[in-house]
Symmetry: C2
Subunit: 215 residues, 2 copies
DNA sequence: AAAATAATCTAATCTTGGTTAGATTATTCA
DNA sequence: TGAATAATCTAACCAAGATTAGATTATTTT
């Protein structure tokens, strides 16, 4: 086959994007480095120039996805909208993120446990390997912290709304789980060519949640 | 190590139970036949006496889990309770199934796509292999059909409730997805030692959904 | 209790997929 | 432009894990 004329080097970003997509479709264990590489016209081996290993790649995908939504959510929370409006917009941001950047969501939803599978370097491994592992563990912890933060922001707004009597006094923790569950599930069934647009879905989920919170 | 004194032969049921548990924890690709075997004090090879292969085992787990909940749901739907009571009980059944038989739910939620990974026998494979594959594909289709049935029962009740003016006229399809998403997610975060019992969770989710449907 | 069948085991096979080594080609920078 | 660096590639390597073969032990059946 004719060699592609130096398709320009592939950016880390491009890899993350493609990887996220493949991961969402197949799940972590089921997607091979080759799959990901193929998605950007590279060889599996080439990926190792950009990422230390498969786990690091996964983590990078998750980080990117989380930050993307988290940044939006944060600014909404810190705005001075009413509790109802805040929640409405947070839900929209989350759900639309899930439907647009196919990556963002479902990957995050499903692959988190895979992160735990990273195995320590053997006792005889090089110090570099040990350092790399240590770094990984640290980044992973950071990721989980950010993830908790995400959930806490939703909790916060729900609690706030209850306190200022905008919302019915639900169990804050549980309601938040219910809500996030509903959102995350969208990443599982959503198809771009489906009956409802991402926006319409986001809109209606927000309505539903807010209706459930009506005092 | 001393050989275990003929621990009695392990039943297919026992394997399914154990497998479901392990699968829920690790996911399909990440759990090895050895893992499953270990959970019932067997050797990986021994599992092949009970199931044709890993895929068949997974499918059997999913079938069992689905049927268990589905049977309950069906009888509720066909009862003559009010739409509200039906829905309330259906939600309870589903969520409690998810929290009790740890197996049942989360496994089902996450592993379905794994089912699609089953690869056809090579062109040169034995006729027996081809037949086996054909059977598998058929059972799988049946499974998905049952699964759709499950979702449809929820849709049915929501629609019924809207028609008899018990429920607010939501988008039936979407609301059902929201609801099932919330349920399924329970299988992801629920921990038996957590703050809320499975029953309490089920109860409150039902309340929440019904509140969201208040006309 | 012999024969047939069921349930397990150990040992080997085979494939897949992550990872590494070393060479090659492109790019950038001094 | 020549040296350093970046990005890729091809070719191995290696380990893990599914599956198979064949032997062994238990349980039924007749």
């Amino acid at each position: 086959m004719a060699r592609k004329p130096a398709d320009q080097s592939v950016s880390r970003e491009a890899i993350l994007l493609a990887a996220a997509d493949v991961l969402q479709r197949n799940g972590y264990e089921a997607t091979t480095m080759k799959d990901i590489a193929a998605a950007v016209n590279l060889t599996a081996a080439s990926l190792y120039h950009h990422f230390r290993n498969k786990d690091a790649l996964l983590l990078a995908v998750l980080e990117a996805g989380l930050e993307q939504v988290l940044s939006q959510i944060e600014s909404i929370v810190h705005s001075k909208l009413s509790s109802t409006d805040k929640l409405q917009q947070m839900i929209r941001a989350h759900v639309m993120g899930l439907t647009q950047n196919t990556a963002v969501g479902a990957a995050m939803v499903f692959e988190i446990r895979s992160l735990m599978g990273a195995k320590e370097p053997a006792v005889g491994a090089s110090p570099a390997d040990h350092q790399a592992y240590k770094d990984f563990v640290e980044r992973r912890a950071l990721f989980f912290a950010r993830r908790d933060e995400f959930e806490n922001l939703f909790r916060l707004v729900v609690r706030e709304g209850i306190e200022n009597h905008s919302f019915y006094p639900v169990d804050v923790g549980l309601f938040t789980k219910i809500m996030l569950g509903a959102h995350n599930w969208v990443g599982v069934w959503y198809k771009p060519e489906g009956r409802l647009s991402g926006e319409a879905i986001a809109e209606r989920i927000a309505e539903t949640m807010i209706r459930a919170l009506k005092p």
